[in-house]
């Protein structure tokens, strides 16, 4: 259905030129047939003119039986832009690795053109397919059609958020474990936790196949699972010499940039002190034809990263220095430990306290004790510098 109402958008129009693809064109494309998108265009132009947003805090809306997956949104200019008086987002759980067939995509488009704004984010920064903007009464029918197509909603609120991962073994030579298989497994194992918020705050998983961390898991997931190896870097010395011959300055580009200072190059052989290799990937990245991660592969499990609110941003920190990630995933011990952590966090965490903040508040040592993990030096960048030790052991007079 064509849309009659037409807004002047002199400011937004300026964002149609230039070589980078234009989101304004996208909104206009949708607006041609969609009243919601058309009103969005008008509203956005007004925001550009006034330099202020026009959205209100969302109330709680969603689909029956779920507590997450929908972000409620209403404009504060509903009289002027009635078609976006509701403009809720549906978060649809993407397939692991963001692989699609054209057919599957068209299925989603069909649904969303019927029930929503015809606008999406491919993808949201957590990883979901974001269906951007619809009315409350459309949520349930959209959901029914999505599930029929084989898609389910993702997380929002204080639940497990939609796990995501790098393409891993599907398209990368460095994947040290099967990121997509694990992501699929974890997403299914925690369907209940994902759809029904019961935690003190959100809980994100991200799976990266190697230390390059192409999903930024160390920076933005409560549980970061990052592939690595613990034996020796695989070397094809002929290929190393090939790189040197073809212009790679191995001393300056590789040896001098190795953080473990474990490389040496005499013009013929690359010597690697694997025992102080930090598994940073740099030498492998520079010479992918010559070097590869070792054969004894697995992952490091880290927890706790998050954005700055309230205590300052955190990166995830190591709790398992190395685990094998092999089928059957049901036997993965670290997942049980994570579940213990959730129990503890649910019991003792404060409202809106992420697990990384919680762990810091109770102290890593105490936290480990509670969840039944032994402290190991891999968990710290370095031992304490201050002498403020809560000694728990002491002798008593006999």
């Amino acid at each position: 259905m064509a849309v009659d109402k037409k807004y002047e958008t002199p400011l937004l129009d300026q964002l149609e030129s230039g070589e980078w693809p234009s989101f304004v064109k996208e909104i206009k494309m949708a607006a041609a047939n969609n009243a919601m998108s058309n009103d969005l265009l008008g509203l956005l132009e007004q925001s550009y003119r006034e330099k202020i947003g026009h959205w209100k805090h969302g109330g709680i809306v969603g689909v029956m039986g779920y507590g997450g997956g929908v972000i409620g949104r209403y404009t504060d200019l509903a009289e002027k832009y009635p078609d976006i008086s509701h403009f809720h987002t549906m978060r649809v759980n993407q397939p692991a690795g963001w692989f699609y067939t054209s057919e599957a995509l068209r299925g989603i488009c069909d649904i969303w053109e019927r029930h929503g704004s015809g606008l999406t984010n491919m993808h949201g920064s957590t990883g979901d397919i974001i269906l951007l903007g619809t009315r409350t009464e459309e949520l349930e029918p959209t959901f029914a059609e999505l599930t029929k197509l084989g898609f389910d909603l993702g997380g929002s609120g204080s639940d497990v958020r939609t796990p995501s991962c790098c393409c891993g073994k599907a398209r990368c030579e460095w994947a040290c474990y099967d990121t997509m298989a694990l992501t699929y497994y974890i997403t299914n194992r925690y369907q209940d936790e994902l759809h029904r918020p019961a935690f003190p705050y959100k809980m994100k998983f991200k799976m990266a196949g190697c230390p390059n961390d192409c999903v930024a898991s160390v920076a933005r997931s409560d549980i970061s699972i990052i592939g690595t190896w613990r034996d020796e870097i695989q070397v094809d010395m002929e290929q190393v010499r090939e790189y040197a011959k073809n212009g790679t300055d191995i001393i300056h580009e590789v040896v001098l940039q190795c953080p473990g200072k474990c490389l040496d190059w005499d013009g013929k052989d690359l010597k690697i002190d694997n025992s102080s290799c930090r598994h940073c990937m740099h030498c492998i990245n520079v010479m992918p034809k010559a070097l590869a991660p070792g054969k004894d592969r697995g992952a490091v499990i880290l927890i706790g990263s998050k954005a700055p609110i309230v205590e300052g941003a955190l990166l995830s920190s190591v709790i398992f220095p190395f685990v094998k990630i092999e089928e059957p995933f049901d036997d993965l011990e670290f997942l049980e430990v994570i579940e213990n952590m959730w129990d503890l966090w649910c019991e003792e965490g404060k409202n809106r306290e992420r697990i990384g903040e919680f762990m810091q508040r109770v102290g890593l040592g105490n936290f480990l004790e509670e969840v039944g993990l032994e402290p190991v030096p891999e968990m710290v960048a370095h031992p304490r510098e201050n002498p403020y030790i809560f000694y728990e052991e002491y002798f008593e007079e006999e």
Partner: protein, 360 residues
């Protein structure tokens, strides 16, 4: 149950990814041996079996209409047997088995307005968030700045001519949904005025103890207003984080005159060479200037180009600055160093220069 009321499905989880993998990937899953990047936007992965997969990556605004998704789908049908994917930075990738399809696909993509590039040492898409398009919390727009910056930097997307990887991200408020805290260059929407208290609505909409607890600087104190529980704000303690607004809609901070963006540099996520690093403040404030935020785009071009001219190969912005020192960064970029740059939050003391490792 009657035949025609279908069972309501829940908790089915996402579709299994295998359904969407092209045969070449299924066959070579876990067998990839190495990759090459013959030109910006094209990756060639070679398998142990000798098979070769050609991935063509095109830029995307991320905010895409279903119409555009249909157009991508058509291209996929034409050139890659219907298989395509999106990346963790929201680019679209077509997964080709035929080398000869690369060039025609690129032509069509570019004709559609989707430049091909973003691999290797090119600048790739800007991870970003909702902004004025959808979020109540935004101190700036997201898509508009991203479009403007990418237009400005387009040559670096289309060619791989930089010393190392560089990742740009944008978040429209301190919640940092764009996870900008670890980016080579981060654009962050900021407020500069304390919340305005909507006295009428606050008692109805918000739990006073939660509101008080939400403030990291203890700027919020409980009080009463017309006999009802309310809050007051010690303006000099407020650093405009909007956490109170997140828990209480009656405390908006948006202010057209004083909202804008800050620019941060030197973060990274990968473990390559240096451990992951947080981004650090480069430019404390640039006012919102829609539709094209020219001060922001030129500030970013400047940083990119000063880095490009001075960094060693593979050195990301943070590593480069660590080598040359922050004073040199400010000197070379011409950015003014101000009181705002000096940390005064929890671990501030640890950011003071506690040695004479200085450059002159």
């Amino acid at each position: 149950m009657a035949e025609d009321t279908p069972k309501r499905l829940t908790d089915i989880g996402p579709p299994h990814y295998e359904k969407f993998l092209p045969p070449i990937i299924k066959e070579n899953y876990g067998k990839w041996k190495y990759h090459e990047i013959p030109r910006a936007g094209v990756l060639v992965h070679t398998s142990d079996t000798g098979a070769k997969l050609y991935s063509v990556r095109a830029g995307s605004p991320r905010l895409v209409s279903t119409k555009k998704i249909r157009m991508f789908s058509e291209l996929a049908d034409k050139y890659s047997e219907g298989y395509l994917r999106f990346t963790s930075r929201h680019n679209v990738e077509f997964l080709l088995t035929k080398e000869e399809n690369i060039e025609p696909l690129i032509k069509e993509l570019e004709a559609m307005g989707h430049p091909v590039g973003g691999t290797g040492t090119a600048i790739t898409s800007i991870v970003h968030t909702q902004g004025w398009v959808h979020c109540h919390s935004a101190a700036t727009d997201a898509s508009g700045i991203v479009k403007s910056v990418m237009d400005e930097l387009i040559e670096y997307f289309k060619e791989m001519k930089l010393p190392g990887k560089i990742r740009i991200a944008l978040a429209c408020c301190l919640n940092m949904c764009g996870a900008v805290h670890c980016s080579d260059i981060a654009i962050l929407g900021i407020h500069r005025r304390p919340p305005k208290i909507n006295k009428e609505n606050l008692p109805k909409m918000c739990e006073v103890p939660n509101v008080v607890a939400s403030c990291p600087t203890a700027a919020i104190r409980p009080t009463t207003y017309e006999g009802k529980q309310s809050v007051e704000i010690l303006e000099e303690n407020c650093m405009f984080c909007a956490n109170c607004f997140t828990v209480c809609p009656a405390l908006p901070l948006a202010d057209p005159l004083n909202d804008g963006v800050s620019i941060w540099v030197g973060g990274k996520v990968s473990n390559a060479r240096h451990e992951p690093m947080f981004s650090k403040l480069a430019i404390p404030f640039i006012p919102n200037n829609p539709p094209r935020w020219p001060e922001v785009t030129s500030a970013i071009r400047n940083i990119v180009e000063v880095w490009a001219a001075n960094a060693r190969k593979h050195e990301r912005i943070g590593e480069w600055i660590e080598r040359i020192g922050w004073p040199k960064f400010f000197k070379l970029t011409g950015i003014e160093f101000r009181k705002e740059h000096i940390d005064d939050f929890k671990h501030a003391g640890l950011t003071f220069k506690r040695s004479v490792h200085l450059t002159y």
